[in-house]
Structure formats: C-alpha cells, structure tokens
Amino acid sequence: MSAVPNPTLQEYSKRIEQLALDLGLDYYPVDFELVPNNFMMEIAVYGLPVRMPHWSFGIRYIHQLIRQGMGNSRIFEVMFPGDPCHAYLVNDNTVPENTLVVAHVLGHADFAKNNHLFARFMEMAGGHILEQAAARAHQIDAALEEYGQERVEAVLDAALALEPHIDINQELHRPLYPTHQAPRGEVPEPDAFRKRFHNLPGEKIISEPQRMSSRALIPPQSEYDLLWFIANYAPDLEGWERDIFLAVREESYYFYPVFACQIMNEGWASYWHARLLREADFLPHDLYLSAIKAHSDVVRPYAADNQLALAVNPYHLGFSIWEDIIEKNGIDAARGIMKEEDDFGFIRNYLSVELAEKLELFVYESHDDGGIKIANRDIHAIRESILAPKFNYGAPRIAATHLHIDGSLEMLHDHESDGRGLDINRAERVLEYIARVWRRPVSLQTVGHSGNTRVISSKKS
C-alpha cells in the first residue's frame, strides 16, 4: 500500500471536481480515502467504517468473502453522506477505475446534500454520524468488558433484529408520551391546524380544560418505532442497554435515505460519472476508454445480449430514468426531481411506459414448486414489483400496542397492509430476543396461512 495516493489520480480528481462545480454540482466537502480491498469489504458488510460488533456481521462477512473469492462481487466505492462526506476507494484499483469512482462519488455527494430525505436526516442528526458511530462502537466494546459478552449480545440481538422498525415520519429526537391523558370528552391541545383555524366564524369558543386527568395509555396509539419504544419504556432496561437501542435506531435513521433512494441515488451518481468523464477532455484517451469500460460494467442491465434476468440492476434502471428525464425536460427539472422525490415517487412518476418497454421490464411469478413464468408487462405492476421490497423499510409493519400494568407488552402485526401473516418461526425467535431485554412477557398477534389469528408469546423464563 502506498502511503501517498497516486499523483495522477489526485491531479485528475482535482480537474474532475472543477468540472463538476462548473456543471452546478453542489455538495459538502468530501474526504476520500484509499483503503485496501479487505477493509472496503468490511465497510460494506457493516454499513459503516467502524460499527458495533455482532456475530450476524460475521455471517455477512463470510458470505461476502465467498462471493469475492468467486469473483462475482467487487466493491468500487462506498460513500457516507455527512459534512464532510467520507468516501472510500480501493487502493489497488486502477487509476481509470478510481477516476470514475471519484466522479461517481461527487454525484452521490450532490444528491446527499440536496435530496430532502438526506437533508432532513442531517438536520436531525448533524453531519458527523460516522464519528458518532465509531464512538458508540467503542462504548459497546467497553460495555463488553464491563458486563460480559452474553449480556451485551442479548441487547444487540434484539436491537439489530429490530433495525428497520423505526417510524421515519417521526423525529429522530422525540419527547416521551404525556404521562397523563386529558379527561374524556375534552378537546385535545390545539395542534397546528386548530391553531390556525380555530377561529372559524360561528365556531364555539373552547372552554378551559378541566383539572381532572387520568393515567394515559402507553402507547397512546400504535407505536411503530419499536426501537424507540423499547429504549424508553422497557421496564428494567439499564442505561447502557438503552444507549445501544438508541444507537441502532440512530444508525437506522441514517441508513433510511440511502435505502429509500437507492435507485435514484445510484442512477444520479452514474449519470454524473458518465457525463463528467465525457466532458473531461483532459483525460488521456486510453484512460477514458478504460473508465468507460468500468462504467458499462457497473451500469448495465443484468440481462445483456438477449438474456433474461430475474432482477433489475438499480444502477442501470436509475441511470436510464435520469437520462430519459434530462433528455426530455433538461437538467434543471431533473435537479428539482432529485431534491423532492424518493424511489417511490421517482419510479411511479418517471418510469414511463415507453421506457419500461425499451428496458424490456416485466413482472414474473415464481411458484412454490420452483416454476417461474413471465406474468405481464403492465407498467403499474412493474412499478409496484420494483417498489415492493422497499415498503416500510423492507420490514413487516409491527407495532407496540399495549403496555400492561404488570409490565408485559402486547404487539400487533398489521397483516392487512402487509397482505399476509408473519413467518412464525422467525417471529418467535425475535420475540425471544425482545423478551430478554424487556424482561417481562411479550406477545405478538399476527395471522396464520388461513387468515386465522395467531398469538405468539415469549416463553416463560
């Protein structure tokens, strides 16, 4: 490993950046770091450069190791939004490859500063999530020393299993529920709507609230932010355990924009690396060709040359949609879309019938018996199939519904929105994880295959 980045790469990067700024890209500073391939792999596995230890990462690690060993998975870059952004490049990739990656990362950086989901998160959590995550990882190491592997692991088992179970409509930092609820019949505290419109002509003036109040139900309504709920309402959770839950939750909020904008974001970065390279007339011709080759390796349909693929490459899909938008409406309109949409709006509004046809997208059905057939090429079905894995952060909708006097917890799976019940075996195991930190009985209601109600309860310990 060379201690100094390749001077050629540095020179090209500077000039590419100048070009990017000239073309209107707008981003927080980016710290690039050239790292060995094995470290790159770990960043990808953990999702953060330094993150809490857990055995489940070990499994992902070994899978990634095997995939790389077989040569069908190569990681070119990882970019972490923030102020500054942190981007990692593999130190023994070629200069053309890394030149391409630098251009690609600038596209991501532009996206991360301007897209509303990313901006909202940064507003809530600040721009130093990497440093915070690393600090928390060290805290957890300290907890391992102090409380032992078994106890720390029990908390991480539960918290990481619930990683996607946050409520992204809520704030990252939110107040606890009111401890007392207003007496029945009373008009609730005026919210923004009421404040604005309470003086409608003819409306009665609201009487002063009465002094009487009763103990509030916890939670007052279904609570989908399970990490927050457990952190704050588990009967006997210790401070350090709570910190772990909140750490996982904050990281989960951080990952959400990346998750919810993957197609847009990768497409945007791919559009920009292609354009920046095209306009970078200072690049030697052979370097340009090598870089473009790397580009087409990344941004190509999984189904090339009359083949079929049972998955859609998000890089290729996003790239194609952005090209289509920019061709029709120009770059300014595209920037507007980039700021306001996430993948749901992006796919529903901008994956047109013509484009879907051009990309030869289809919906297929796979049956229990292993049979697979093309179902249709209906645009709505295509859009929804692409988006299906993204609903609710890719997880079933499960809410905490009732905290009983004795500390036991009831949860409810919203099987109607999800369309079917939970995988019972896994649900039982997650419930065991939760029960170990909740330290009281925990139960969860879902439905079985025939639509019958199933209540799963944690085993009595």
Binding site: V45, G58, E360
Partner: protein
C-alpha cells in the same frame, strides 16, 4: 477554486485486525455452544466410531441465522421485476419435481459449515451434561505396577540425568561465599534421582460383544455401535491404557478386529453363551482380573435360544464376578417391545441377585445417553457398595 476534496491513503490501523473476522469467530463460537447443547442429537446421527483414530469428528452444522421479522412465504406465488425479452406466459423455469429444491434456492447461497470437534472435548461436554461420575478402579487389584518417579538429587549419577538448573544454582551459592571462585567445580553437580514406586494398576480391558445373527438389522447395529463408542470413550477417560477386544456371535463366537467387527453379518440363530465363554477365555488367559479393570458390553436384539438359557446364565454369572461391570444393551429400533426378551430376562435375574450387571434398551439414538448415564452411575454405585 477552493477544493472541497481531500484525498489520503494513510491510517493503516485497519490492517491490524479484521472486525469481520472477529465477528465470524464469535459466530463460530456460538455455533459450537449450540452444538454442545444439541450434542446427543448431532452425534448419534453421524458415523463416529470409525473416525476415532484422529481423535476428532466432523459435524456438519448450519450457520446461525440472526432472526428478523419477516412475512411468511406466500402460499400462492410471488411477483418480482425482471428484465429481458419474452411474452407474458413464457415459462422461464419449469416446475421442479420434489419441493425441497425450490426452497433451498431462495436466499443467499447456503454455506455448509463443517465443525471439527475433538472427541475429548465432546466427552468432557457429555460428562458434564450427563453428570457422570468417573469410574472407580477395583480396590482389590492385587498386583500393582512398578513405576519410576523422579525424587530428589544426588552429587553422583548418570550424565543424562544432570540437572543443569540445579547445578548452576549450587554454583551460584558457592560463588557468593568464595573469594576467587571457579565457575564450576565437581561439588556443584547435581543429578536427578529416580526411585521405584508401586502404583495401583490402571490397565483396563473392554470387551465388546455383538449379536450378529440374522435378526440384527443395520439400524440395530448402528445403535449398538454408537453406544459402544461412547462407553469406550468413557472408560478411556479413566484409564491410562485401555485394550479392546471384539467378539461377534451367532450360535458360534469369533474374535474380530475393530474394523471387521461392525461389518460382520452372520446367519442363523443366536446362542449368547458362546460369546460369554469366549470372553471368559480371554479374561482367564490374557487379562488377569487381579491386574486389569475389565468391562464387557454386550449388544443384542434380545433373542436367544431357550436351550442356551442355562449356559448363558452360567457364563454371565462368572463374568459378572470377574469383571468390574457387565453392560447389556438391547437394541430395538422403532418401538418398545411389550414382552420381555430372553436375554433381558437373564440379565434382569442376575442383576436382582446383586451381580455387577446393568441393562438398557435402545430404541432410538436419544436412548444412548440414558444408557450411558445408567451404566456409569450404576457402576460407580456398585463399586462403592463392593
């Protein structure tokens, strides 16, 4: 222009360790723990005895899964987006015959983990789990072994037993009090001394006898084999030197090597007395009960010719008197028999008369642990009572 980029290639700290590897090791540790908890299930299933030479066994295990909430697999079909040419209705992959395959295809490529476990570790876990007492050697072993142990030092001795450390120590002491000391003198030399000591015999012999008549099926042999393996390992824990002998019988009895022993198939009827007599013969000629702790384990499906009853009873009675312990396991894969077998009856009678004999019935692999436990606990109790 003020550059908004920095580029560095330092910070080699991450070369020092791999967090992924650390978490992977932790995963493996957890697998090991769960293997430990499910040990009886795992082990009864695999072929152990043959692998005993290298003192390790390989157990295929699944990787652990960190569970998350997931929707159940849809009963009908699942829709996803794909890309390429083709018409609605085109079959991209025909239905597979046999459902298992379709299931395995989903998710990430399955990685099989082959866990190598030391037989000694397994035995330690088992002993802990089954709470087994250690075997008691016979108290009345008449002859004791001679052994040499190191004891003390002398100023004379064979060069090979020169204790250099001790010698230097002596030299240092001497030099401390002399004015112009020589580095070493003969007086400094110290030699280790050996003395002869008698110690109780710790030799053991285990005789395995197996009914190989036509009625013994493969399943029955497998049960017997697994049981024998663990009984032997248990005995090996206690004794420095364990010899094993293998006897198979139908209406005749022969001695075999270990590898042949489990392959032998005989035809015809069952006369257990032949095996007992051969065992007695071995004991009398080669394993003096005064010198050896001896064990006999006999496995059979319980059938025995009624004409052989007297001879078998006689043989077993003699064996029970000479040996530390006789264990009889009846292999009945599947279901328990309602009627008492000939062999069980004979053993039961002897046991009631106070002979060092125990009986267990093996219907499925789980029973092996009960049987092992029974034998070791009973043997310990009996030798205490004796």
């Amino acid at each position: 222009m003020v550059s908004r980029m920095t580029m560095s290639a330092e910070a080699p700290w991450y070369d020092l360790f791999s967090r992924g590897a650390r978490d992977w090791l932790r995963h493996n540790e957890k697998v090991r723990e769960s293997v430990q908890q499910n040990l009886p299930d795992l082990i009864a299933g695999s072929d152990l005895i043959t692998g005993s030479q290298d003192r390790t066994v390989r157990v295929p295990v699944k990787m652990l899964e960190h569970a998350r909430f997931r929707l159940s697999d849809s009963m009908e079909s699942q829709s996803d987006a794909g890309q390429g040419q083709g018409q609605p209705g085109d079959v991209l992959r025909p239905a597979q015959h046999g459902h298992e395959e379709g299931q395995g295809d989903r998710g990430e490529g399955e990685v099989q983990l082959l866990l190598e476990l030391k037989v000694d570790d397994i035995m330690d876990w088992l002993w802990e789990e089954l709470k087994l007492p250690d075997l008691q050697p016979k108290r009345n072993t008449a002859v004791e072994d001679e052994e040499y142990v190191r004891q003390g030092w002398d100023k004379h001795g064979a060069r090979a037993r020169l204790d250099r450390r001790r010698t230097v120590k002596e030299a240092v002491k001497r030099r401390a009090i002399q004015e112009n000391p020589l580095p070493f003198i003969n007086e400094d030399l110290r030699f280790r001394q050996l003395v002869q000591r008698r110690k109780p015999a710790t030799n053991a012999v285990v005789i395995f006898a197996l009914d190989v008549s036509a009625s013994m099926t493969e399943a029955e042999r497998k049960l017997a084999k697994t049981f024998f393996f663990f009984a032997l390992q248990g005995i090996r824990r206690r004794y420095a030197k364990v010899e094993t002998r293998f006897i198979a019988h139908t209406t005749e009895a022969w001695e075999f090597t270990e590898s042949e022993f489990f392959q032998v198939t005989g035809t015809g009827g069952t006369g257990a007395s032949t095996a007992f007599n051969l065992a007695l013969d071995l004991i009398h000629t080669q394993y003096d009960p005064a010198q050896y702790n001896s064990y006999l384990f006999y496995a059979s499906d319980g059938e025995n010719f009624t004409e052989d009853r007297t001879a078998a009873t006689e043989g077993l009675t003699q064996l029970a008197e000479l040996l530390n312990y006789v264990g009889y396991v009846e292999t009945v894969p599947g279901s328990l028999r309602t009627t008492e077998t000939e062999m069980k009856m004979i053993c039961g009678q002897l046991e009631r008369n106070g002979a060092a004999i125990g009986t267990s019935v093996l219907t499925r692999p789980d029973d092996i642990w009960k049987a092992i436990r029974k034998f070791f606990v009973q043997q310990a109790e009996q030798s205490e009572a004796a």
